[in-house]
């Protein structure tokens, strides 16, 4: 059974077809990259999958269950979690408190109305922080964290939701090479039970991490296959460099 199956997803903004009849299948345990030049519709497709935005047409199936009509809140509860590109997080909280928010939601217990010390929530939050490489930063407030650290915190948040499908939105954006390397390690270290779908611009990162790639161009799927296939594809190269258009404009 596939983890994610999208069929015929479409969404327009006025006359602009941001996502046009997109099919996307993600296999269990895959590290699946979603790439494409600017304006290809990656962000919009991402939002259609998470449920932040409603599709005009098409279906989204998570672990065989149709979630097309479900909100992003419900999809998260069903096993889909995401990181957000801009990592704006919670300005008044420490790293631990931030992750604890996610842990307490997915711990299977009700959210209490009275103060109660829950060491197991705190312990799990600290564990997740250590997993993403933020071990010494538990009591630091979010605004004092470096940009790269905030991106790591985003991943910890997403992992705290016990996802079967983890969606990463440009996880490496704005990162230094050292931070980028740490991110690669982090994603490679994720357990096989968690399937990863990530949107990324950095093609080196994509080819280092991905075992499946889908290329979007002008809202449609240009190619879906292994990294090697995508690398070799003439059509993909043209989409990124626009060679064909140049020829159309200026002759051969």
């Amino acid at each position: 059974m596939t983890v994610l199956r999208c069929a015929g997803l479409s969404r327009s903004f006025g006359a602009l077809k941001a996502v046009d009849d997109v099919d996307l299948t993600v296999e269990p345990g895959a590290r699946h990259a979603l790439i494409g030049p600017n304006g290809a519709g990656k962000s919009t497709l991402f939002k259609l999958v998470t449920g932040t935005m409603r599709a005009a047409a098409g279906t989204v199936e998570l672990n065989g269950q149709d979630v097309s009509r479900r909100s992003e809140v419900q999809r998260c509860r069903l096993g889909m979690s995401q990181t957000m590109q801009h990592a704006s997080l919670f300005a008044s909280m420490t790293a631990t408190e931030t992750v604890a928010l996610a842990v307490q939601r997915h711990s299977g217990r009700r959210i209490g109305l009275l103060p109660r010390s829950r060491p197991e929530v705190r312990a799990r939050a600290e564990q997740l922080l250590a997993d993403v490489g933020l071990a010494g930063r538990s009591n630091v407030v979010v605004p004092s964290l470096a940009h790269g650290e905030r991106k790591q915190l985003e991943v910890a948040l997403a992992l705290a939701c016990n996802p079967s499908l983890l969606l990463l939105d440009e996880p490496a954006a704005g990162m230094s090479p050292a931070e980028r390397a740490r991110l690669v390690e982090l994603v490679q270290g994720l357990p096989a039970e968690i399937t990863v779908l990530f949107v990324e611009h950095d093609l080196d990162l994509v080819f280092a991490l991905a075992d499946a790639v889908t290329v979007l161009h002008l809202g449609r799927v240009l190619l879906s296959g292994t990294p090697a296939e995508v690398r070799a594809s003439e059509a993909v190269r043209e989409a990124y460099l626009g060679t064909r258009r140049r020829e159309e404009l200026f002759g051969s």
Partner: protein, 329 residues
């Protein structure tokens, strides 16, 4: 591409609101309560009455701070629920019984009811739209109080409310009334503080800081906001019941724009989100309005308005202390 929303570091280094350690905070609270409880033994009746009004307003302000400071929902119509509780408690005291805790419970229930009926619309909006909507609600409730003469007494309000009775005896003495109000208000404030410190309260703060992120974590934020709106309305309604215990009168003005603005001022002066700060702010507002008012020709409102303007300019962390609205970069 829109610019990435910045994380503000308001006030520089200390970005998070000051965290008083639990133990010390509790000690201070107990000490304050002891002083407050002993106060009527040393104060003249007028001062005791003013202190009673401060305590009532403090519960009201704390209920508003739960909305504004903890959850990030800036309401300008909260007086509507305060007044709804006051009218309900007053009506029950006149027509059914004034035996405690009935008026208090009726006030809390009616505050919750009014909030529940009007809140489902407001929680779908946020920021300035929410502000406008709550303003409209407060004004609407005031007009209802003004025109529904048969029940509310119309523009003159509900007068002649009998004193609340505790165990059969009427609280005719300002001192006894004060103690009743103090006990009830302390209970109310304590419940709100406990809620704010609970996991639910942590979720509210998450919603205040970044609602979309909370939804992406699986929190049904609209439901949470509705719930806290009703709870805050209930606490405000309870404060209204305490108002009539002291004042024996409620008028449409108690539901209006002025009352709501003063409550918001109290919350902001004290530092939104800290809850105990709202108590301090409430004390300041009542003292200026009622105690200093006569020496200012009854124009304490003018001073408070100016204070409002100054506070907004001078508070380093901004009026709300934390980010309530997304700032355009």
């Amino acid at each position: 591409m829109t610019a990435a929303p910045q994380i503000e570091v308001p006030g520089g280094a200390a970005a998070a609101p000051p965290r008083v350690t639990r133990g010390r905070g509790l000690l201070v609270a107990v000490a304050v309560l002891v002083v407050l409880a002993a106060a009527p033994l040393f104060l003249a009746p007028f001062a005791t009455t003013t202190l009673t009004r401060i305590v009532v307003f403090a519960l009201f302000a704390v209920s508003l701070d739960l909305l504004v400071g903890v959850t990030g929902m800036p309401s300008l119509g909260h007086a509507g629920y305060f007044g709804a509780g006051a009218y309900a408690a007053g009506w029950v005291s006149i027509n059914v019984t004034a035996e405690a805790p009935v008026p208090l419970l009726v006030g809390a229930v009616f505050g919750a009811l009014a909030a529940a009926l009007t809140g489902w619309v407001t929680v779908r909006s946020s920021g300035v739209f929410f502000l406008m909507l709550t303003l409209a609600i407060g004004e609407t409730l005031q007009q209802v109080a003004d025109s529904w003469e048969s029940v509310t007494g119309g523009a003159n309000g509900l007068a002649g409310i009998p004193a609340t009775r505790v165990a059969g005896t009427a609280l005719a003495n300002p001192g006894y009334t004060y103690w009743y109000v103090l006990v009830a208000a302390t209970l109310g404030v304590a419940l709100v503080v406990l809620l704010a410190r609970s996991p639910f309260g942590a979720a509210l703060r998450g919603i205040r800081d970044n609602e979309p992120r909370m939804r992406a974590l699986g929190y049904p934020t609209a439901l949470y906001k509705y719930a806290v709106f009703v709870v805050a309305g209930s606490a405000a309604g309870a404060a209204g019941a305490l108002l009539i215990a002291q004042q024996r009168l409620v008028t449409p003005a108690d539901l209006g724009f002025m009352t709501a603005s003063f409550a918001l001022l109290a919350v902001i002066i004290g530092g939104a989100g800290s809850l105990w700060g709202a108590c301090l702010g409430a004390a300041l507002v009542i003292i200026v309005r009622d105690a200093l008012g006569p020496s200012l020709d009854g124009h304490g409102t003018l001073v408070l308005g100016i204070a409002f303007v100054l506070v907004v300019y001078l508070l380093p962390r901004g009026a709300a202390g934390v980010r309530l609205f997304r700032r355009r970069t």
